[in-house]
Symmetry: C2
Subunit: 157 residues, 2 copies
Protein backbone atom coordinates (compact mmCIF):
# COMPACT_ATOMS: atom_id res chain seq x y z
CA UNK A 1 0.00 0.00 0.00
CA UNK A 2 1.35 3.40 -0.87
CA UNK A 3 -1.13 5.97 0.47
CA UNK A 4 -3.78 4.85 2.98
CA UNK A 5 -6.40 7.38 1.83
CA UNK A 6 -6.08 6.27 -1.80
CA UNK A 7 -7.64 3.00 -0.69
CA UNK A 8 -10.61 4.46 1.14
CA UNK A 9 -13.79 3.43 -0.66
CA UNK A 10 -15.43 6.19 -2.64
CA UNK A 11 -18.13 6.82 -0.02
CA UNK A 12 -15.36 7.64 2.48
CA UNK A 13 -13.24 9.75 0.15
CA UNK A 14 -15.08 13.06 0.59
CA UNK A 15 -13.52 14.14 3.89
CA UNK A 16 -12.44 17.78 3.96
CA UNK A 17 -9.22 16.75 5.69
CA UNK A 18 -8.17 13.73 3.68
CA UNK A 19 -10.72 12.83 1.02
CA UNK A 20 -9.23 12.54 -2.45
CA UNK A 21 -12.65 13.49 -3.88
CA UNK A 22 -13.07 16.72 -1.88
CA UNK A 23 -12.03 19.48 -4.27
CA UNK A 24 -11.72 22.04 -1.46
CA UNK A 25 -9.97 19.91 1.15
CA UNK A 26 -6.51 19.39 2.61
CA UNK A 27 -5.84 16.00 1.00
CA UNK A 28 -3.82 14.56 3.87
CA UNK A 29 -1.92 11.53 2.54
CA UNK A 30 -0.69 8.94 5.03
CA UNK A 31 2.08 6.48 4.18
CA UNK A 32 2.23 3.41 6.43
CA UNK A 33 5.90 2.54 6.81
CA UNK A 34 7.33 0.04 9.30
CA UNK A 35 4.58 0.49 11.85
CA UNK A 36 4.32 4.27 11.58
CA UNK A 37 2.16 6.66 9.64
CA UNK A 38 4.09 9.37 7.82
CA UNK A 39 2.77 12.40 5.97
CA UNK A 40 3.99 15.72 4.64
CA UNK A 41 1.83 18.79 4.22
CA UNK A 42 2.44 22.22 2.75
CA UNK A 43 0.20 24.89 4.31
CA UNK A 44 -1.18 27.60 2.11
CA UNK A 45 -0.18 31.24 2.77
CA UNK A 46 -3.56 31.91 4.39
CA UNK A 47 -3.36 28.98 6.84
CA UNK A 48 -2.07 31.25 9.58
CA UNK A 49 -2.79 32.09 13.20
CA UNK A 50 -0.65 35.20 12.97
CA UNK A 51 1.48 36.25 10.02
CA UNK A 52 4.40 33.79 9.93
CA UNK A 53 2.79 31.06 12.03
CA UNK A 54 0.64 28.08 11.07
CA UNK A 55 -2.97 28.04 12.25
CA UNK A 56 -3.50 25.64 15.17
CA UNK A 57 -6.82 24.45 13.78
CA UNK A 58 -4.97 23.26 10.68
CA UNK A 59 -2.45 21.44 12.87
CA UNK A 60 -5.36 19.78 14.69
CA UNK A 61 -7.02 18.84 11.39
CA UNK A 62 -3.83 17.30 10.02
CA UNK A 63 -3.25 15.33 13.21
CA UNK A 64 -6.87 14.17 13.16
CA UNK A 65 -6.96 12.79 9.61
CA UNK A 66 -3.42 11.45 9.67
CA UNK A 67 -4.12 9.61 12.92
CA UNK A 68 -7.32 8.09 11.53
CA UNK A 69 -5.43 6.86 8.47
CA UNK A 70 -2.71 5.48 10.72
CA UNK A 71 -5.34 3.76 12.89
CA UNK A 72 -6.91 2.07 9.86
CA UNK A 73 -3.56 0.82 8.61
CA UNK A 74 -2.47 -0.34 12.08
CA UNK A 75 -5.74 -2.16 12.62
CA UNK A 76 -5.49 -3.94 9.28
CA UNK A 77 -1.92 -4.98 10.04
CA UNK A 78 -2.89 -6.24 13.49
CA UNK A 79 -5.65 -8.30 11.89
CA UNK A 80 -3.19 -9.69 9.39
CA UNK A 81 -5.12 -8.39 6.40
CA UNK A 82 -3.92 -6.34 3.51
CA UNK A 83 -5.63 -2.95 3.76
CA UNK A 84 -6.07 -2.45 0.03
CA UNK A 85 -7.50 -5.96 -0.45
CA UNK A 86 -9.88 -5.45 2.45
CA UNK A 87 -11.16 -2.25 0.89
CA UNK A 88 -11.80 -3.96 -2.42
CA UNK A 89 -13.91 -6.53 -0.61
CA UNK A 90 -15.76 -3.75 1.23
CA UNK A 91 -14.42 -5.08 4.49
CA UNK A 92 -11.99 -2.29 5.26
CA UNK A 93 -11.95 -1.08 8.82
CA UNK A 94 -13.67 2.28 9.09
CA UNK A 95 -12.70 4.56 11.91
CA UNK A 96 -13.88 7.94 13.07
CA UNK A 97 -12.47 10.29 15.67
CA UNK A 98 -13.74 9.66 19.19
CA UNK A 99 -11.47 12.25 20.75
CA UNK A 100 -8.68 14.53 19.63
CA UNK A 101 -6.05 16.08 21.84
CA UNK A 102 -3.30 18.42 20.67
CA UNK A 103 -0.54 19.99 22.75
CA UNK A 104 0.92 23.04 21.02
CA UNK A 105 4.48 23.00 22.34
CA UNK A 106 5.67 26.01 20.41
CA UNK A 107 4.59 28.11 17.44
CA UNK A 108 4.77 26.32 14.07
CA UNK A 109 6.54 28.50 11.51
CA UNK A 110 4.86 29.00 8.14
CA UNK A 111 7.20 28.06 5.33
CA UNK A 112 8.80 24.63 5.63
CA UNK A 113 6.71 21.56 4.80
CA UNK A 114 5.08 20.09 7.89
CA UNK A 115 6.11 16.53 8.70
CA UNK A 116 3.71 14.25 10.56
CA UNK A 117 4.61 11.04 12.32
CA UNK A 118 1.99 8.87 14.04
CA UNK A 119 2.13 5.53 15.79
CA UNK A 120 -0.46 3.26 17.41
CA UNK A 121 -0.21 2.83 21.17
CA UNK A 122 -3.30 0.62 21.51
CA UNK A 123 -4.95 -1.47 18.80
CA UNK A 124 -8.26 -2.99 19.90
CA UNK A 125 -11.23 -4.43 18.10
CA UNK A 126 -13.37 -1.30 18.50
CA UNK A 127 -10.77 1.33 19.32
CA UNK A 128 -7.28 2.32 18.21
CA UNK A 129 -5.27 4.95 20.07
CA UNK A 130 -2.71 6.86 18.03
CA UNK A 131 -0.08 9.30 19.22
CA UNK A 132 1.66 11.69 16.88
CA UNK A 133 3.96 14.60 16.43
CA UNK A 134 4.14 17.39 13.89
CA UNK A 135 7.45 18.97 12.98
CA UNK A 136 8.62 21.95 10.96
CA UNK A 137 12.26 22.27 9.88
CA UNK A 138 13.21 19.39 12.17
CA UNK A 139 11.60 20.78 15.33
CA UNK A 140 8.57 19.10 16.91
CA UNK A 141 6.05 21.88 17.50
CA UNK A 142 2.91 19.88 18.35
CA UNK A 143 1.95 16.51 19.79
CA UNK A 144 -1.32 14.70 19.24
CA UNK A 145 -3.35 11.89 20.73
CA UNK A 146 -6.37 10.56 18.88
CA UNK A 147 -8.81 7.89 19.99
CA UNK A 148 -10.11 6.32 16.79
CA UNK A 149 -13.31 4.31 17.13
CA UNK A 150 -15.04 2.00 14.69
CA UNK A 151 -17.57 3.93 12.71
CA UNK A 152 -21.05 3.91 14.30
CA UNK A 153 -23.95 2.45 12.35
CA UNK A 154 -25.51 5.93 12.17
CA UNK A 155 -22.68 6.97 9.88
CA UNK A 156 -22.81 3.89 7.71
CA UNK A 157 -20.30 1.74 9.62
CA UNK B 1 -18.52 44.80 23.16
CA UNK B 2 -20.44 43.03 20.47
CA UNK B 3 -18.01 40.62 18.79
CA UNK B 4 -14.72 39.78 20.54
CA UNK B 5 -12.78 39.26 17.29
CA UNK B 6 -13.86 42.65 15.92
CA UNK B 7 -11.72 44.17 18.65
CA UNK B 8 -8.55 42.18 17.98
CA UNK B 9 -5.82 44.57 16.84
CA UNK B 10 -5.04 44.38 13.14
CA UNK B 11 -1.88 42.32 13.65
CA UNK B 12 -4.02 39.63 15.30
CA UNK B 13 -6.87 39.70 12.81
CA UNK B 14 -5.37 37.39 10.18
CA UNK B 15 -6.17 34.04 11.83
CA UNK B 16 -7.62 31.47 9.44
CA UNK B 17 -10.16 30.50 12.09
CA UNK B 18 -11.33 33.88 13.32
CA UNK B 19 -9.44 36.72 11.68
CA UNK B 20 -11.69 39.32 10.11
CA UNK B 21 -8.86 40.15 7.67
CA UNK B 22 -8.32 36.57 6.43
CA UNK B 23 -10.24 36.37 3.15
CA UNK B 24 -10.13 32.56 3.08
CA UNK B 25 -10.92 31.84 6.73
CA UNK B 26 -13.82 30.73 8.88
CA UNK B 27 -14.48 34.10 10.56
CA UNK B 28 -15.57 32.70 13.91
CA UNK B 29 -17.37 35.48 15.79
CA UNK B 30 -17.65 35.22 19.56
CA UNK B 31 -20.25 37.16 21.53
CA UNK B 32 -19.48 37.53 25.26
CA UNK B 33 -22.83 37.41 27.06
CA UNK B 34 -23.29 37.06 30.80
CA UNK B 35 -20.07 35.19 31.38
CA UNK B 36 -20.33 32.91 28.37
CA UNK B 37 -18.99 32.99 24.84
CA UNK B 38 -21.61 32.34 22.17
CA UNK B 39 -21.15 31.83 18.45
CA UNK B 40 -23.01 30.49 15.46
CA UNK B 41 -21.38 28.99 12.40
CA UNK B 42 -22.73 27.75 9.08
CA UNK B 43 -20.49 25.07 7.55
CA UNK B 44 -19.99 25.05 3.81
CA UNK B 45 -21.20 22.04 1.79
CA UNK B 46 -17.63 20.77 1.48
CA UNK B 47 -16.89 20.88 5.23
CA UNK B 48 -17.72 17.21 5.58
CA UNK B 49 -16.21 14.06 7.04
CA UNK B 50 -18.68 11.92 5.13
CA UNK B 51 -21.58 13.17 3.04
CA UNK B 52 -24.12 14.54 5.51
CA UNK B 53 -21.77 14.97 8.45
CA UNK B 54 -19.60 17.90 9.51
CA UNK B 55 -15.82 17.46 9.39
CA UNK B 56 -14.32 16.94 12.85
CA UNK B 57 -11.34 19.14 12.04
CA UNK B 58 -13.74 22.01 11.46
CA UNK B 59 -15.43 21.33 14.80
CA UNK B 60 -11.99 21.40 16.44
CA UNK B 61 -11.10 24.65 14.66
CA UNK B 62 -14.33 26.34 15.73
CA UNK B 63 -13.88 25.22 19.33
CA UNK B 64 -10.29 26.42 19.25
CA UNK B 65 -10.92 29.98 18.03
CA UNK B 66 -14.16 30.43 19.94
CA UNK B 67 -12.47 29.32 23.16
CA UNK B 68 -9.56 31.72 22.63
CA UNK B 69 -12.00 34.57 22.07
CA UNK B 70 -13.90 33.54 25.19
CA UNK B 71 -10.65 33.37 27.16
CA UNK B 72 -9.69 36.90 26.12
CA UNK B 73 -13.09 38.28 27.11
CA UNK B 74 -13.15 36.36 30.40
CA UNK B 75 -9.66 37.54 31.28
CA UNK B 76 -10.52 41.16 30.56
CA UNK B 77 -13.65 40.90 32.69
CA UNK B 78 -11.71 39.28 35.55
CA UNK B 79 -9.21 42.15 35.37
CA UNK B 80 -12.05 44.63 35.46
CA UNK B 81 -11.08 46.20 32.16
CA UNK B 82 -13.17 46.84 29.12
CA UNK B 83 -11.86 44.61 26.34
CA UNK B 84 -12.43 47.09 23.53
CA UNK B 85 -10.79 49.93 25.46
CA UNK B 86 -7.80 47.74 26.30
CA UNK B 87 -7.35 46.90 22.63
CA UNK B 88 -7.36 50.56 21.67
CA UNK B 89 -4.58 51.16 24.16
CA UNK B 90 -2.66 48.16 22.79
CA UNK B 91 -2.97 46.50 26.16
CA UNK B 92 -5.43 43.78 25.20
CA UNK B 93 -4.74 40.35 26.55
CA UNK B 94 -3.41 38.10 23.80
CA UNK B 95 -3.90 34.39 24.13
CA UNK B 96 -2.86 31.41 22.07
CA UNK B 97 -3.83 27.76 22.32
CA UNK B 98 -1.68 25.73 24.67
CA UNK B 99 -3.77 22.60 24.27
CA UNK B 100 -6.98 21.61 22.59
CA UNK B 101 -9.15 18.64 23.49
CA UNK B 102 -12.35 17.65 21.70
CA UNK B 103 -14.66 14.77 22.51
CA UNK B 104 -16.83 13.86 19.55
CA UNK B 105 -19.93 12.51 21.29
CA UNK B 106 -21.90 11.81 18.15
CA UNK B 107 -21.81 12.74 14.48
CA UNK B 108 -22.63 16.39 13.73
CA UNK B 109 -25.21 16.64 10.95
CA UNK B 110 -24.48 18.99 8.06
CA UNK B 111 -27.33 21.42 7.55
CA UNK B 112 -28.41 23.29 10.68
CA UNK B 113 -26.26 26.18 11.92
CA UNK B 114 -23.76 25.06 14.54
CA UNK B 115 -24.15 26.70 17.93
CA UNK B 116 -21.12 27.11 20.18
CA UNK B 117 -21.20 27.84 23.89
CA UNK B 118 -18.00 28.29 25.91
CA UNK B 119 -17.31 29.21 29.51
CA UNK B 120 -14.17 29.82 31.58
CA UNK B 121 -13.44 27.29 34.31
CA UNK B 122 -10.14 28.86 35.38
CA UNK B 123 -8.97 32.42 34.83
CA UNK B 124 -5.35 33.00 35.81
CA UNK B 125 -2.76 35.62 35.03
CA UNK B 126 -0.96 33.48 32.43
CA UNK B 127 -3.57 30.83 31.63
CA UNK B 128 -7.30 30.61 31.08
CA UNK B 129 -9.07 27.25 30.79
CA UNK B 130 -12.26 27.21 28.73
CA UNK B 131 -14.78 24.42 28.33
CA UNK B 132 -17.29 24.37 25.53
CA UNK B 133 -19.95 22.51 23.66
CA UNK B 134 -21.06 22.51 20.05
CA UNK B 135 -24.66 21.76 19.14
CA UNK B 136 -26.60 21.15 15.96
CA UNK B 137 -30.39 21.35 15.94
CA UNK B 138 -30.44 21.43 19.75
CA UNK B 139 -28.26 18.36 20.30
CA UNK B 140 -24.77 18.65 21.78
CA UNK B 141 -22.51 16.65 19.47
CA UNK B 142 -19.06 17.70 20.71
CA UNK B 143 -17.41 18.98 23.85
CA UNK B 144 -14.18 20.95 24.04
CA UNK B 145 -11.55 21.96 26.56
CA UNK B 146 -8.94 24.54 25.64
CA UNK B 147 -6.02 25.77 27.69
CA UNK B 148 -5.38 29.31 26.52
CA UNK B 149 -2.00 30.77 27.43
CA UNK B 150 -0.68 34.31 27.20
CA UNK B 151 1.06 34.77 23.91
CA UNK B 152 4.80 34.01 24.05
CA UNK B 153 7.27 36.75 23.21
CA UNK B 154 8.34 34.74 20.12
CA UNK B 155 4.93 35.43 18.60
CA UNK B 156 4.88 39.09 19.48
CA UNK B 157 3.17 38.84 22.86
Amino acid sequence: MEIVQDHYPEAFAHCFGCGRLNAHGHHVRTRWVDGEGLATFEPKPFHIALPGFVYGGLVASLIDCHSIGTAAAAFAEAQGVDFADAVKEDGAPRFVTGSLHVDFLQPTPLGPPLELRAWPVEVGERKVVVESELSAAGTVTSRGRVVAVRMPASMGG
